[in-house]
């Protein structure tokens, strides 16, 4: 438990370090210049949004596979992870469109990666529609979890397959003059720290949301007992 707590609290060190490294230490990219610094935020946020949805899916599997009642809170954890994932996905879309405006001159042009992230966003918005429709239904956890697993298995199609099947202007080919991805050591280490810091931020947010959920459940149980 102490290890988890320490890992979660590492965000207090990692996030300022990532910000300082992104703006002051990492060199600008050859073609994109200083605007490439948005990469140190856009890429980690996109990574965390996928991670949050995968965590939601895996936790849902555990919830559905649980026969002994050991993981009764897991549908709530999956829900919280999906909420965090949705917020990070919206941030991915926002940072991506800012980067697109700088690089391509337009905020949005239905590039395969842009299309993929919007579809992922729609899939998880649909999850909240189901949850809303089943507000007082006893099967809400089971059906929500089944949907999250179904949504998770479609992720590889959008996150990995579609951008590789269809031609894309996404920065893979344009970040450097030789039209290949080339990040020098300082850029690589900045990106690694940024990814670690946003992962820690996601863990921190999820940790707080789960604690709030437990407290809320405890208050409800206590008030029922008092009645």
């Amino acid at each position: 438990m102490k290890i988890i707590s320490a890992a979660v609290k590492s965000v207090y060190i990692l996030m300022p370090a990532a910000i300082v490294m992104a703006f002051l230490w990492a060199p600008p990219a050859q073609v994109l210049g200083d605007s490439s610094r948005i990469m140190y935020f856009h890429v980690p946020i996109a990574w965390v949004s996928i991670l949050a949805f995968v965590v939601a899916g895996i936790v849902s599997i555990l919830f559905l596979a649980d026969r002994k009642g050991s993981f009764v809170m897991f549908d709530g954890i999956a829900y919280n992870s999906a909420v965090a994932g949705l917020v990070f996905t919206v941030l991915t879309v926002i940072t991506g469109s800012i980067w697109a405006r700088i690089s391509w001159g337009v905020f949005w042009n239905w590039d395969p990666r842009e299309t993929s992230i919007v579809i992922i966003l729609l899939i998880y918005i649909a999850y909240f529609s189901i949850q809303g429709a089943m507000a007082h239904n006893d099967n809400r956890g089971r059906i929500g979890s089944a949907y999250l697993i179904l949504a998770m298995i479609t992720l590889p199609f959008f996150a990995f397959l579609v951008p590789r099947i269809y031609p894309s202007l996404h920065p893979d080919p344009i970040i450097n003059a030789d039209r290949t991805i080339f990040l020098d050591d300082r850029m690589r280490s900045t990106l690694a720290v940024a990814i670690a810091s946003f992962t820690a931020l996601y863990c921190y947010i999820l940790h707080i949301m789960n604690r709030m959920m437990k407290l809320q459940n405890h208050i409800e149980e206590t008030s029922h007992e008092a009645d």
Partner: protein, 219 residues
């Protein structure tokens, strides 16, 4: 299991044949939309890409009008409880899955000729076109079976089925449109898109089969 599936299928077909509610709604919707598009276009033919897009929009929304009915009906009429207690969960899924595939085949058999006729579509590669439409239809029916069960459990509320199906089906629609468009005017369409659709159908069918018991059975 085989007998259960056959019995269930027989019951579903009989009930549907008696009322023909889902079929009538879907076929009528398809006819109205196709005629409306043709009328507003004033006989001017669209480009092959637009023809493919409109065809799949008509197919998608026609299917959405009927594919959830198979589970919503069970919940509305109170027969879901009997099915849950009397019939093996896997048999229920397989029978509903087959029913939805058959239903989708009927929708495609109604929509596609109507569309070709009213919108003056010229098909360059007939076999590829038929396979594209069939593979897209199979994928839609495969993915929506479990989603229909979820919506039925949520009370079958209005457009919820379309809202949750649309994002899951977007890759299917995307690829089906590419494949259909290629069948209409590409010099030599390849089978890669068809392979993707069949792979997606197989993948989602297996996952749906595994997840169905958690959606169907109650605590």
């Amino acid at each position: 299991m085989g007998n259960d599936v056959l019995r269930n299928l027989r019951k579903d077909f009989l009930v549907e044949f008696r009322s023909r509610f889902a079929l009538n709604v879907s076929a009528s919707f398809a006819a109205i939309v196709t005629i409306a598009i043709s009328l507003t276009a004033g006989g001017v033919p669209f480009s092959p890409k637009v023809q493919a897009i409109v065809l799949w929009i008509v197919i998608f929304f026609s299917a959405m009008n009927g594919l959830s009915h198979i589970f919503v009906r069970e919940e509305d009429q109170g027969t879901a409880l009997f099915l849950r207690t009397a019939v093996n969960v896997d048999s229920v899924f397989v029978s509903k899955f087959i029913f939805n595939q058959a239903f989708m085949a009927v929708i495609l058999a109604v929509v596609t000729p109507l569309y070709l006729f009213f919108l003056q579509v010229q098909v360059l590669h007939v076999a590829h076109f038929i396979f594209s439409v069939a593979a897209g239809g199979v994928s839609i029916a495969a993915a929506t079976t479990i989603l229909a069960a979820m919506v039925a459990k949520a009370g079958g509320k209005g457009s919820l089925f379309t809202i949750i199906s649309f994002p899951i089906l977007l890759p299917v629609l995307w690829i089906s449109i590419s494949s259909t468009s290629a069948a209409l005017n590409a010099p030599s369409p390849t089978g890669g898109n068809l392979l993707f659709l069949l792979a997606f159908s197989g993948f989602i069918s297996v996952i749906s089969f595994l997840l169905f018991r958690f959606v169907w059975l109650e605590d």
